[in-house]
Symmetry: C2
Subunit: 692 residues, 2 copies
């Protein structure tokens, strides 16, 4: 999709332009005509001959000149024909009109019709039901929000037009400026993915902030985002975290992985920074737009109030950035210039009577300490504190130093002018110091992610294996089953090199006399094996620890009574030392997700689970295992030997390959997979559920 | 302590008053003389005859009139003698001078001397090293911060003077006003506890906000706080959360309970609201100072922007307040007056073109819905939005409605005047809607706590048991041991009705021939029992699952080789189904804390532990067990029967009694306590560590 002319048009036509007070078409026309846009403008409305002292066309078709962009602000029912008539010569449209899929079935049909036109004629359509867009640098406000923000380096893409208005107004007060503000509305044709791809090449954009309520075509979005995020930070405020009622899920891995948690995993994989709320979004975008890259995660804090220093120290808990340990040289230099009572620990307490000169000297000393990546400058307005002068000192220092500098001047009227000074000189001020720490930390984590080279992974697809797997599943489908029999699942796992417990079917026993097969010894387990009994344990479909022939016969009789006609299987009773749960969940946004976690009866109590979005490398899986919630299994813990991380990683990778090769599986659950920490023991899948 | 005259003095003397620019004594004198304080003022400084056109006394003793309060702003070394000379006639002092315990050993000695004077002469001393205090209603600024805030209903007590200056300035901008601002500095004599007790009776104070870095005499503080918090919300910003390096802890319960977590438990017990950071502190105090009590936890949200509504909905996750389910009547009424496209779900979307009248009508309809306790009014400044008019509508509604009302007008310049309007009419505005939700929730949780009657608990101390316990401990002390032998611990637990595993000492065996005592069968466990081997398992001091005579003899020989001369004991080998860890930790702030948690080798991995501060009722323990992190044990989980909550509660209560009766134990650990979910089985302590 080439959006160049959409966002940088030489000529614009406004269909539905008006001069009537309170009309959307009036606001848009005024915005485009009066705010300084340099291109050609054509106004279209059958009701008028003239508008704003210029010719008004009856129909778009009447305009003979070339038109790069058409903005449509007429009732929904007229939109399709207007586009259809001009689709051969105009390629870019913004539909601000509402009354489409957000409204009712009729609106949905209208939207489908327009989307069809877009596909046939290769059109780019923004909206419908959007605010439009604003490009401050071009003095182009192609929206029905009034005014023109100053030009900056943030592209803000939003699914809510109202939020764009509120945030732009807030941003103006905080001197945060935008390269583009784009309202995507119903995102019928142009979605967040196309915008992201466009912004990667946009020279005016250094940071991308998005407000999204949903993600269309998540897999494609992640691919693009993981490329863009390498050069431009992407900050997303994803609303709608609260889980809607999910449809019944029959796998346990499914229950372990909430869709909002998968969103987190997906964002992390693509190097996207997710803001936890509107305030953090605003702070993150604003901060990044102003800031230098941090050379290290070691932070110095300077303050004229001890209390503020202590609060800031608290905020470092559980962060990847840390309070720098000051070097001996730095400490000596500080001791020389600070009053006796001052702390030469970090946070560095300049004391309440600090004037601008003390701030200046301390900043210079810290600048020499090469390990430090960023400086947080705190200030409270004591009676003697020259707030503005200190702001100026910090700004001057910032202009020369390579370190990232942020400020938190805490107060009201007394710090107002100082903060204005800071902002004018491109220093971001946080109203409260704790936010400075969390935002620096998020930025550092993005930066670090960017440093770790993301190997471009091509999944190791085997055509032969794929065909064999498909055959197994197709057979079950032909029998109209929703799940595989154990023996089929076992074959499937075998294809992917996963060891499964041996098992034989009761049906294959000689009638009248039950006998354990060769290689089986008591104790054993009896299980029902039917696609109609998915929660076997809960429904009495499992009898454990059958010790002898007599018990076995009783169990079989009872089982056949409970589940008449159902297949039953017998398996050895294994010692269950450590149970892992492992499977594939289909996510509505991102497709297959591999989930693994601690099994056992408390799996859903402890909820120790991790998710991975395929494709992934074995290294990525190993570090997920070691550094994730199950990490304790792979370290020696109080005398218990570590489990084999490489073995489990291999199994997870195999499952990842499976998820890439086999499409027809809706849920996949190995529960439990028994793992051992004794030499020579191999992991073994004891129960497998494959829902097709 | 009677602080009436300290905070409402009829006469004040300022020792160290001055007119010299930049001196603390100058600022204080000016503040008291020029801001409108109505009482008598006496200035004292040997260097002057006159100051501010009034007589200046050479010494405090020269002032013959009665003096209610003396403010001291002279160098630290002169302070003690000045107090000593006047201690018979003046009872209230504020020492703003620094150079005391915050500085060095010399300063500590000075402080000790003054504290001695205070005790001898029954003085009330605020400070030293404090900013002083401000009582806006009396126009009394007895501090060296300039200006006089307007009078309100918040008492702000702070250990950091600089923070008082910053927050007062910030509060002024937000129209948040104070009854008292009190800087407690080194809190040598008057601490947070005395201030709290005073504020309980203070009619001008409705909310108490405290910034504390430490708590002196935590047990007393909690007692007072739990009484005060019943009528006045206490919000504390406790800084210094980060754990300092702890001294080596030999009990596992000790390792499970961090001192900051204990702080949380203590605050919750006393009904104190703990703010997570400066921003939340500010929002909480400001919000509560303005707000009505919420009649229910059901909240209505109205908005003119869908996106803001979705973000607000997200913020309700994991909160005790909930988005109200609107009644059928309310929905019908809303449907009548709202445009067709409006949502009549909660959040109620008034749409972007909502004028003040739509806000007004919707508020009136919600007012009728009696289940709703509070309304959050959201607004984004769309072009057509009459921000100030809507603010006025909300303010008018607030004046008449019994429901709690908060606002979040999101924007910059465009919402500025509207927010001013709201503030002037006593409605708190949050810059971002998510904060509104979390602050409402915190306030509701306080309110709910207040509703639950806190039974005043007198611990069930038994003198006889106390004497018997002391005898056991004293015997070990006499032998210079740091820990009890198992047999002693067993006796101790028996006194408190806790069942301990049977055990006999190897020493008591006939020499040459090891024989299991009566009632013992293989398999057994062999353990070393010595106060010098505290981590037995790690040091090879435990041999499990000894199956026969031969294995036992080998194990004993080896054990005696490893720990020559140490006592060894033999215990039955019990099936370990569910292991609990249980003990007492001595906290530096709050004394004995009972800790319980999930045991087993992963105790420190899962960190599923809860803390209780004695005294506590059995009901309180039961609800901690049921609602806390171990709650899953007391519900049936996937076929596993529930454990007996009453039995474990009884044991924890016994341990609580123990902690109240026995002083000389520094750490106490039962690890594991085995619990069962089979009829007739009782919990049993398998290993016990009592450090004295």
């Amino acid at each position: 999709m080439n959006l160049e002319k959409l966002f940088n048009p030489q000529s614009i036509a406004i269909v539905g332009a008006s001069q009537e007070e309170g009309k959307v078409g009036t606001v848009i026309a005024k915005n485009i005509i009066e705010l300084g846009y340099a291109g050609k403008v054509y106004l279209v409305n059958p009701k008028y001959d003239q508008l704003f002292g210029a010719r008004c066309y009856k129909k778009l078709a009447e305009v003979e000149a070339e038109i790069d962009l058409v903005i449509i602000a007429i009732p929904a029912k007229f939109v399709a024909s207007e586009i259809s008539e001009n689709a051969n010569r105009v390629k870019n449209f913004v539909i601000v009109s509402a009354g489409f899929s957000e409204m009712n079935e009729e609106g949905k049909a209208r939207e489908a019709e327009i989307l069809q036109l877009a596909k046939e004629h290769n059109l780019n359509i923004l909206g419908p039901n959007c605010l439009g867009f604003i490009i401050p640098k071009l003095k182009l406000n192609a929206s029905f929000a009034s005014g023109l923000p100053e030009a900056g380096n943030i592209a803000f893409v939003t699914q809510s037009g109202a939020l764009a208005v509120a945030l732009t107004d807030l941003a103006k007060a905080e001197k945060i400026y935008f390269s583009k503000i784009i309202s995507i509305g119903n995102k019928m044709d142009i979605t967040e993915t196309e915008i992201l791809a466009y912004l990667e090449k946009d020279e005016d954009t250094a940071v991308i902030g998005m407000y999204l309520e949903g993600i269309k075509n998540g897999e494609e979005f992640l691919k693009i985002a993981s490329v863009v995020s390498k050069t431009k930070p992407i900050v997303i405020l994803k609303a709608g975290k609260t889980e809607r009622a999910q449809k019944a899920i029959s796998s346990h891995t499914g229950a372990l992985a909430g869709s909002d948690e998968i969103m987190n995993v997906a964002f992390a994989k693509a190097g996207i920074l997710r803001a936890k709320d509107l305030e953090e979004f605003f702070n993150l975008v604003g901060f990044i737009s102003h800031n230098k890259v941090m050379a290290s995660n070691k932070i110095a804090v300077i303050t004229n109030a001890g209390g503020l220093g202590v609060l800031t120290t608290d905020a470092f808990a559980k962060k990847e950035i840390t309070l720098a340990e000051l070097s001996e040289k730095t400490r000596l230099a500080l001791k020389k210039i600070l009053p006796e009572e001052s702390s030469v620990e970090n946070p560095i307490d300049l004391l309440g009577d600090a004037l601008e000169n003390r701030y200046k000297k301390v900043l210079q000393i810290i600048d020499e300490d090469s390990q430090i990546g960023a400086i947080i400058c705190l200030l409270t307005p004591q009676d003697q504190t020259p707030v503005e002068k200190i702001a100026r000192v910090i700004a001057k220092f910032n202009a020369k130093s390579t370190k990232a500098i942020v400020a938190s001047f805490v107060g009201g009227k007394k710090v107002e002018k100082g903060i204005k000074r800071l902002r004018a000189d491109d220093i971001f001020n946080f109203a409260f110091p704790e936010s400075a720490v969390s935002v620096l930390d998020a930025f550092y984590r993005w930066k670090r992610k960017e440093e770790i080279s993301i190997v471009s992974l091509v999944s190791d697809v085997s055509q032969e294996r794929k065909v064999n797997a498909k055959a197994i599943i197709d057979f079950a489908k032909k029998e109209n089953r929703h799940a595989l029999y154990f023996s089929e699942s076992r074959k499937l796992l075998e294809l992917y090199g996963i060891n499964t417990i041996k098992s034989f079917e009761i049906n294959s026993l000689a009638a009248g006399r039950l006998e354990l097969g060769a290689g089986f010894d008591f104790p054993v387990v009896l299980k029902v094996d039917s696609d109609e009994v998915l929660h076997k344990t809960d429904r009495g479909g499992v009898v454990l620890d059958i010790k002898n022939q007599e018990e076995l016969e009783m169990a079989v009789t009872q089982m056949q009574g409970n589940f008449p006609g159902a297949k039953c299987i017998i398996q050895p009773m294994l010692a269950r030392e450590m149970e892992i749960i492992l499977g594939i969940k289909k996510d509505a946004n991102f497709g297959s997700v591999v989930v693994y976690g601690l099994g056992g009866i408390y799996a859903e109590v402890f909820k120790l689970a991790e998710m991975l979005i395929p494709p992934f490398s074995k290294d990525a899986v190993e570090s997920s295992l070691r550094e994730g919630k199950l990490g304790f299994l792979f370290r020696e813990t109080r005398g218990q030997k570590a489990y084999d991380v490489a073995e489990l990683a291999r199994i997870i990778c195999d499952l990842g390959d499976f998820s890439q090769e086999v499409d027809d599986v809706s849920e996949f659950d190995i529960n439990p997979l028994l793992i051992y920490n004794k030499d020579g023991s191999v992991a073994i899948a004891v129960d497998v559920k494959v829902i097709i």
